[in-house]
Amino acid sequence: MIITSAKSFEVILALLKNEDNMFVIGCNVCAAKLRTGGEPEVLEMCRKLEESGKQVVGWALPTAACSIRSFESLVDKNEKIIDACCILVMACGSGVSSVANVVGVPVYGSNDTISLGSLSGGKLISNQCVMCGDCIIGEFGGICPKAQCSKGLLNGPCGGNVDGMCEIDRLKDCAWTLIYERLKKIERLDLLYNIHTPQEHGFK
């Protein structure tokens, strides 16, 4: 799941200060679950924009904003989009980009995209994956240090761990403490002795 958080309405209004006749597009997958772009949030956004003097020509809620096939598929959902002078997308950055690829008007995002995470048992967990394109998460018991260690260290913790908490945020568990506990639970502490070479960055 892509974790997003909604920008404040004041910030969104500032982004749209030179725009009018807008069309709002939500996302019925991650953003809907996180309440940053589902139907209730889209309707609320339309109401507040109109209250602020903006003309909203219409709205649509595709299944996934990141998988929009074509402009025609948006017209099929709501033909009012043809009259739009700009589009506000209530999705992640990928959803905003996907919409921008198929329309010919300015596109704005109402959310900040935070990380790839999960919603598990009602608990939101951020930064579970950095989408590095070189997955070795199995080496760490399913807890990726590239994503969860603040320094992305692959060969063990830094010296900043205090009582199992992270150097930069004493309220956050040190990823390496979590990795140790997980590997102990699954009886694979031997994996801790593997020496990992650095991530190969580059164009993907």
């Binding site: 603040s150 320094k151 992305g152 260290l153 692959l154 060969n155 063990g156 913790p157 830094c158 010296g159 900043g160 761990n161 205090v162 150097e167 930069i168 390496w176 403490t177 140790y180 502490l189 801790l192 002795y193 020496i195 990992h196 070479t197 650095p198 960055h201």
Partner: protein, 292 residues
């Protein structure tokens, strides 16, 4: 006969190293003057690399200034500020300028320092940086390209001293496997803990130089206990600092007593004063590492 730091590591001499910070600015005379007290007395001088993420002159430049002034520097290098290109360039430059000793570490996160919004790099971790230096030492770069002259560094690494922290012990083992030729530790206050640590790493063939911070006040001891990872000041020392009429003197006595035990447990001591080295010589006399 004058032995260099690597040769001293290979000898039976009890080693004394100390830490010094480059200046925060281009005027280096005060920093060189502080270092000059230790010239010919200690075996090598660690030069910190933007310690605690506080921006200072580069460790490379100040190491060279110290070298020119007759010191033997150990250039510290962290993974925080440079990617593998920058790290290798600086290492080649340092070697070409005559710097032979380095100490490698991860580095504190930028948010701990005076440029908290700075982008953290950590392209490599400290184990991988040791692997990188091993390649430069064999005449090739990290991408296996041949160098026009390689390096031959005396390469050290750092470690905490908690014997009950398996992750730390495993990482230390990896560092030794990847070429750490000496280890400098976090400050030792709990000698029992340090003895257990040395037993826990008995299987590793590497000289361990024990870190030492002379206490200056009760507040400093309590602050380190609360905030500094891997530092554990025992209650007995807290009590002594609390009742001391002259806490600075008491701190030196505590450090001096620690040295007399560390002579038996480690290959050397590494003095990290908070501030200047004005008491370092006195500490060495008190601990009888220097004769009057």
């Amino acid at each position: 006969m004058h032995l260099n730091f690597r040769e001293k590591l290979n000898s039976s001499k009890f080693l004394v190293t100390a830490e010094i910070s480059p200046p925060k600015g281009t005027n280096f005379s005060v920093s060189l003057e502080d270092a000059s007290q230790l010239k010919g007395v200690i075996d090598a001088l660690n030069v910190t690399d933007n310690q605690c993420s506080m921006m200072h002159m580069s460790s490379l430049a100040f190491s060279k200034l110290l070298l020119d002034d007759g010191h033997e520097p150990i250039m510290q290098l962290t993974c925080r500020d440079r990617n593998r290109l920058g790290l290798q360039s600086d290492l080649l430059g340092a070697y070409a300028l005559g710097i032979r000793n380095i100490c490698l570490m991860t580095g504190d996160f930028p948010s701990c320092g005076d440029h908290p919004g700075s982008k953290p790099v950590y392209d490599l971790d400290s184990v991988q940086l040791l692997q990188l230096v091993r390649k430069l030492d064999s005449g090739i770069d990290f991408a296996e390209n041949k160098l026009t002259g390689g390096t031959s560094f005396c390469t050290g690494a750092v470690s905490g001293i908690n014997p009950a922290n398996p992750l730390q012990l495993i990482k230390l083992e990896k560092k030794v496997k990847c070429g750490a030729y000496f280890i400098q530790t976090q400050a030792v206050f709990d000698l029992g803990m340090f003895e257990e640590f040395m037993e826990a790493i008995n299987h590793l063939d590497v000289p361990v130089i024990a870190g030492l911070i002379p206490l200056k006040s009760l507040g400093m001891a309590e602050f380190m206990n609360r905030n500094i990872s891997g530092i554990s000041v025992p209650e007995e020392i807290i009590f002594r600092m609390r009742k001391a009429s002259n806490p600075m003197e008491e701190g030196l006595s505590i450090a001096s007593e620690a040295i007399s035990e560390l002579v038996k447990l480690s290959r050397g001591i590494h003095i990290m004063p908070i501030g200047s080295h004005k008491n370092t010589l006195r500490l060495l006399y008190m601990a009888r590492l220097l004769e009057k």
